[in-house]
Symmetry: C2
Subunit: 335 residues, 2 copies
Amino acid sequence: MTKVTIIDIARALGITPSTVSRALAGNPYVKESTREAVKQKAKELGYERNVIASNLRSGRTHAVGIIVPRIHRSFFSSIISAAEEVLDKAGYSLIICQTRENLQDEIRALNTLSGIRVGGIMLSHAIGSKSGKHIQEAIHGGIKLVQFDRVFEGLPGSTVTNDDFNGAYSATKHLIKRGYKRIGAFTGPLSTKMFLNRYEGYKKALEDAGIPLDETIVFKDSIIRENGYLNGAKALEKGCDAIYSSGDYSALGALEFAKDQGVRVPEDFGILGTANEDFTSLISPSMTSIEQNPREIGTKAAQALLRLMYGETAGEHLTVETTLIPRESTDRKNG
Amino acid sequence: MTKVTIIDIARALGITPSTVSRALAGNPYVKESTREAVKQKAKELGYERNVIASNLRSGRTHAVGIIVPRIHRSFFSSIISAAEEVLDKAGYSLIICQTRENLQDEIRALNTLSGIRVGGIMLSHAIGSKSGKHIQEAIHGGIKLVQFDRVFEGLPGSTVTNDDFNGAYSATKHLIKRGYKRIGAFTGPLSTKMFLNRYEGYKKALEDAGIPLDETIVFKDSIIRENGYLNGAKALEKGCDAIYSSGDYSALGALEFAKDQGVRVPEDFGILGTANEDFTSLISPSMTSIEQNPREIGTKAAQALLRLMYGETAGEHLTVETTLIPRESTDRKNG
DNA sequence: TTGTAAGCGTTATCAT
DNA sequence: ATGATAACGCTTACAA
């Protein structure tokens, strides 16, 4: 408990607390000499503004919250990291909460943040939560909302998402250009909008290249490593010479199956993943992947939130482009 | 701004705000029927306690801070994740700050948190900061401190660190058991206490096995991938048949050199890293590594901080054991 | 340009 | 078991 208050400074200088408050807050109606004296004395006494009292009085708070499924997933931690940098510069501190993909924890986090009276919340919802009703309920009271990555429609505020359609489109086009003829897909569950958008991009790329869609080589299970291994087997059996995968881990599974079977990658089988996880550049052959640019998502989300809080917008829908990172797993000459 | 206050509840019930406050705070001197009525009415009106006002009056705050070099490094994000779970259960929210390995940012983070009047701070300092003086200065005023991973001596509060000596000792012993005879080391710069402790563990294991230390195969550069590649070359040239590395990326560099030269791993050259990064299990051959158990570090740090804040201790020094994860890169029979 | 004074919503300390 | 009242430290009309 630093005991120094503006009253102490005022007393030491023979002026009133209001003047001290104004001087410190940068109010222009303060004589320069007074401001100097106040700042000088504040430093001398080791004064630190009591943010709590300040917040209570002004009704504003300089904290915002971010809610993510899991902090330690690199996609989310990169988003947090970038958002923190933006907010820090704007004088806001960032409170993080994780839901562990759990609706109850998500509701609890929303209530906690709303209780702290944060100015805004950035949220990527848990897979377990099916509609945005609980969010709607929790963010009454002027708290601004920015949804990113996984978003519900029909909620107030702004959204920031990847351009998933184009990402999948250019990925599939990349495979076609490299000469692959029969390209299967690991799409992930299409009940999630994001996965659906990617699937649409995949289909459009095939269509534009005059390749008919074959639903028997589209695998819609969860994009985990094990499913990649199993579906990689099925895809090869069905004559695929390449896979577009909506995740890196499922792509890895397919790669492992190919290696186990002595199928040559990229010569006989091309593999392309999504997320550009660290390991994609470290394994052999290294894996072509779609970079989602999470830092840009974090930056844009934070900036969008500041704009909402400053009243500069009522809501905007931003997208972040993806970037194709070509590596060895699709590196064969047109043919 | 939820406009409902305890005054509204009091008025609606014909009692005073003090009673409402007590009822809600769980004060035992409140008739059960009154408490019920208050809770009922609070829910009915959609009351939410104003944490800011509560903090101001009580002088306590239910937030703590954590300062790390980089949020998106999986070691740190796992620590944060685990700490958040502990604190959340105890009713505290966690404010994160990152220093980007930068002393100025570290000082700024300390000031921000101290300004918010957090109850405590968990800190792993930036490499750029050489002494703990700036920390000492910033955390006056009863703010509790827990240092983890990278710690300064001579500061108040508690510390949580890995048992680096034993980790390196058992790693080196593992290599010896597997029959490797001439084991080089990538130690990292010994000015950092952590690296020094590991080096000591390495030396002790050699000593216990009767193997003389050969300083010409101890490489003390920064443990990055490039140095691993270069020093891997030197180590092989000097007749090493194994490497103990204080980092996974430098170990990876050595592995890449070996593969490039057609040196067989693990048959002719054993490689062991530290940190158990994700990629170690995904590359081929998979890499033996020392798991540092970051989630346990985070859990212990948060618990230690709570104990400090509750006044249950004045400071403690906790260690977290490391775990050897044997994989293919050292998997040869005693020979 | 500075002072005065009234709170922000809660909780602690009396008293009843 | 409850009420009355002051106070936490700051900001902000309004007055001077």
